[in-house]
Symmetry: C2
Subunit: 208 residues, 2 copies
């Protein structure tokens, strides 16, 4: 049994799954999981309904794998940003700043995924609740790690609450990015980034 590979090295099946992810992510971001029908997903992906069920056990499973896939990309991107600053001898604040930028870039590239993620994260009593917890923790842990290292090396106050501060930072970026997209999409990524940098470094009050 050998899975034939398409030009890109992906199997045919993977290509189909990718199309289904892309179709599902925009539809679910717009309408929510329950309001999105499997027929719609299949139609937008340009495949037959039977194909959806050939590739995924159920609508929920498709969604769960989509979540894992997307957060995996984000986490990898955050980690890369941290490693880059470390390689260049940057401080921990630089690492946080690089992560803010990486987050903004991700949300700029995958706005639908971001919407969908925010919309589902704090729900309770849903089938994919545990999946969501796991992937969330993967991403937030990267931020927490940098904060902790900063505390250890004395760059950050020992009194900061790592967990809460990480959550607040993530929220800051998340909501600013969503507002940017929704209400002033003409702004550049650099604009948004510098506004958030300023806030991070406490340069809101006072001068320089």
């Amino acid at each position: 049994m050998e899975s034939s590979t398409a030009p890109g090295g992906r199997t045919r099946r993977e290509a189909t799954r990718q199309k289904l992810y892309e179709a599902a992510v925009t539809l679910i971001a717009e309408q929510g999981f329950s309001a999105t029908t499997v027929d719609e997903i299949a139609e937008r992906a340009g495949v037959a309904k039977g194909t959806v069920y050939y590739n995924f056990a159920s609508k929920s499973v498709l969604f769960e794998e989509l979540l894992r896939h997307g957060v995996g990309l984000l986490t990898a991107s955050l980690r890369e940003a941290v490693e880059d600053t470390a390689r260049n001898g940057g401080s921990k604040v630089d690492a946080l700043d690089a992560m803010i930028r990486a987050g903004l870039v991700f949300m700029d590239r995958y706005p639908s995924f971001t919407q969908l993620y925010v919309a589902e994260l704090w729900r309770t009593n849903r089938a994919w609740q545990s999946t969501l917890m796991v992937v969330r923790q993967q991403a937030v842990a990267v931020v927490e790690g940098v904060l902790r290292e900063g505390v250890d090396n004395g760059e950050f106050s020992a009194e900061i609450d790592v967990q809460l501060t990480a959550a607040a930072l993530v929220g800051m970026v998340l909501v600013a990015a969503l507002d940017w997209q929704a209400f002033q999409p003409e702004r550049s990524l650099d604009d948004v980034h510098s506004a958030l940098s300023r806030l991070l470094q406490g340069r809101v009050s006072g001068r320089p």
Copy 2:
């Protein structure tokens, strides 16, 4: 023929609507709008399904009025916080800090509403989209107002981006509060408040 008033002076109808709001808010926060059935709402409120439609034109209308109701409470609370600090001769940073606290208190008291609001705010193509925009703006405008006044009186740097900064601040509080509730509910409100204060005032890096 007079509309009978209950002990509190509220009409019977208003009492019923309140019960429906309360039932709807928790169910929709948990499951989302589409996944919540009118039958469920009626059952939890302890009324018949027909009563829902006697009091609201449709499921969507019930939801829209619920949104207006909830954000109205939040906005009032934020305004009050600002006025209190102004009365006591506080600075604009004090006003921001008071709003952070007011936001946390609100989210502590109405966690379900907060969940539901976040989950629906950035969706597109939904019936209540415009309602949501309006109420969001009411709330965010209070924050923007304080920032603008701070810039005018020189307390804040003239270079801050009022709109983006307001959004980021709101996001910071929102996400920190949701994470607090979801992942470490044992923490006190003061704990969370001081972590956010620290971040607001740029006391993360460095010492005191």
